[in-house]
C-alpha cells in the first residue's frame, strides 16, 4: 500500500508551514529574511494602486512564495457578485501568482451595504446552489485554483437542512474547488453549537484540502469569538494532528491578527505546527507501511465544554488586520 498524500492535491503543491504577512513584522522580515516556507496576504489590503502596501508586497515576493486569502467576496450574499472587485482581485493575482487563492463560506453584502463580516450561511439547498454556481464562475474567471474556508459561527439557523460538514463537502465537490480547512474554526463552531469537532474533521473530503489555517481565539464563556489572538490551544493542535493524519501533508498557516506579538513568537508557533505535522505524517506513513489504512478511523468525542474562566473582551478582526499607516512604525519604506 502506498501513501499518495505527498502528491499535489487539485494541482496545488504542499508549500510547508507559513505565516500571515502582517504590518508590524515588515521591517524584520525584509531585514532578516527569516526561514518561512510561505506567506499569506489578505488580498484586499493589496488591491490598491501602489504606496507602501504594494512596495512591501513586491519586496517580499522577491524572496518568498506568497498566497492570497480574501475576506470580502461574500460568495453567498443575496447581492450579485461584485465584478469590479473580482477584476481588481485578478489584477493582484497576476502580480502575486499564487498557487491557489481562497475566501470563505459566508455572506456579507445585502442591498448594496457591506457589513464587512463573514456571516454564516444556512445549510440549505438554496445556499448550496448559489455558492456552487458562483464558485465555479470565480475559479474560471480568476484562472487559479480557488478554495473556500469553513468559517467560525456564532448563530445557527432553524432552516438548515444538513450539518456544516455536509454543506461544505457538497459545495467543494459540486463546484470542483479546494477546501481551505480552518481547524480552529471547526473547534470554535463546535463549542458554539455543541457538536463533535472530530466528526467534522473526519467527514470532509480530505483530498480537496489545499491549505489548513491554525489560530488562537477568545473564549467568552457563553461563546468563542474567532479573534486570531494568542497561541493555538492544545485541543486545536490535537484536531490539527488528526487532520494531517487524515489528509496527508497539506500547506499550513499560522494566523495571528490581534494583539500581534513579535515575529519570533509567530515563528515559534509555525515551528510547533511543523513538528506536529511531521509527527502526524510519520504516523500516517507508519500505518501504510504496516499494511493498514493510512487514515485513522472516526472515534466520537464530546463537544468542547464551556470554560470555567472565560478570557478576553471579544474584539475581533475578519481574517486579518488592515494595512494602515498607524501600524507602520516597523516598516522600511
Amino acid at each position: 500500500m502506498s501513501d499518495s498524500s505527498n502528491q499535489p492535491r487539485l494541482g496545488v503543491p504542499d508549500h510547508g508551514v507559513g505565516i500571515g504577512l502582517r504590518v508590524p513584522h515588515y521591517r524584520e522580515i525584509l531585514e532578516t529574511r527569516p526561514a518561512v516556507d510561505f506567506f499569506e496576504i489578505i488580498s484586499e489590503n493589496f488591491m490598491v494602486p501602489g504606496g507602501k502596501p504594494r512596495y512591501h508586497l513586491e519586496a517580499v515576493l522577491e524572496s518568498y512564495r506568497v498566497i492570497q486569502h480574501g475576506v470580502s467576496l461574500g460568495i453567498g450574499s443575496p447581492d450579485e457578485l461584485d465584478m469590479d472587485y473580482l477584476k481588481r482581485l485578478k489584477q493582484l493575482v497576476r502580480v502575486v501568482q499564487p498557487a491557489w487563492l481562497s475566501d470563505h463560506f459566508c455572506w456579507g453584502t445585502a442591498d448594496g451595504v457591506n457589513v464587512h463580516d463573514l456571516l454564516p450561511l444556512p445549510y440549505t439547498r438554496a445556499a448550496i446552489a448559489r455558492v456552487v454556481e458562483r464558485a465555479r464562475m470565480i475559479q474560471d474567471f480568476l484562472e487559479v485554483r480557488f478554495a473556500l474556508e469553513n468559517t467560525s459561527s456564532y448563530l445557527a439557523y432553524t432552516s438548515s437542512q444538513m450539518t456544516e460538514w455536509e454543506f461544505v463537502s457538497e459545495v467543494v465537490e459540486r463546484a470542483d474547488i479546494g477546501l481551505m480547512f480552518d481547524v480552529n474554526n471547526v473547534y470554535v463552531s463546535a463549542y458554539n453549537h455543541g457538536f463533535d469537532p472530530y466528526e467534522f474533521v473526519h467527514h470532509v473530503p480530505h483530498e480537496r484540502i489545499v491549505q489548513i489555517h491554525l489560530a488562537g481565539h477568545t473564549n467568552l464563556g457563553t461563546h468563542i469569538i474567532d479573534t486570531h489572538s494568542g497561541p493555538v490551544i492544545d485541543p486545536v493542535w490535537d484536531l490539527y494532528r488528526e487532520t494531517i493524519e487524515l489528509a496527508g501533508s497539506v500547506s499550513t498557516l499560522i494566523e495571528w491578527d490581534d494583539q500581534i506579538p513579535p515575529l519570533a513568537a509567530v515563528l515559534a508557533e509555525a515551528e510547533r505546527a511543523r513538528e506536529v505535522r511531521r509527527i502526524a505524517i510519520e504516523a500516517r506513513s507508519s500505518r501504510v507501511s504496516n499494511g493498514e489504512a493510512a487514515a485513522p478511523g472516526y472515534v466520537p468525542h464530546p463537544p468542547p465544554r464551556p470554560m470555567d474562566s472565560p478570557q478576553g473582551s471579544g474584539g475581533w478582526s475578519v481574517g486579518g488586520p488592515r494595512e494602515h499607516a498607524s501600524q507602520e512604525a516597523g516598516s522600511v519604506a
Partner: protein, 209 residues
Amino acid sequence: MTPPTSHEERQELDELQRWMASKLRELRGLPKDEPTTALARRHFTGNDRLSPVEQLEVYRQQFWLRHTSALLEDFPGLSGILGQRDWERLTESYLGAHAPTSFTLRDLGAALPAHVASSDWLPNRELCADMARLEWAYVELFDSELLPSASPEKIAGVPEEAWNGARLALQPNLQFVSSRYPVAELRPRCAERSSMRSEPSDSASRTGT
C-alpha cells in the same frame, strides 16, 4: 447530492439575509426589541447559553465594533479633539447616514470630512473639519500610486543639454490641504489623547445593552 432548489427557497434565503443585514446596523441592542426577538426565535436555534436573539446580537455588536474601530484608526486626531462621548455620537451618526458599501474598510471614512462639516452640533466644528480633511488625505496618500522619484544624485547626473527637454513633475498623489488651524502640528498630540482613552469597543458595548 441535494435536489434542485425552488424559486421560493431562494427568495426565502434572500429575505432572511436582507433582514439580518438591516438588524446588524441597528444602533440599539436587539434583545430589548420584541418583534426582533420573536423573528430571531423563528430563524435561529439559540442554545443553552445564548438565546436566538442573543446569537444575532453577537454580530450586531461586532458590526459596530469593527466599523468604529476602523474610523478610529483612520481619524485619531479628530477623535482626540472630540473626546470619547462626542466621537461616539459622531461615528454613530456617520455610520447611520453612510452605510458601508465598499468591499474595503479603507474607504469607510471617505465621506466623514463632509459629514463633520455639516454636523452643526459639533464643538470646534471648523477645527474638526480641518483635521478630518487632513486625516482623509493621509489615508489616500498611504496606498496611492507613486512615480519613481528624482534623487539629488540622479538630477546631478543629467547632462546639461538634456535639461532643455527635461520635465520635473509632482507626484500624482500630492494633495494640497488648506486649513484654518495648524492641524498637522496638532495631530500627534490629539492622536495621543485619543489612544489614551478607553478601547473603541466601548461604543459597541454601550449601544449593545
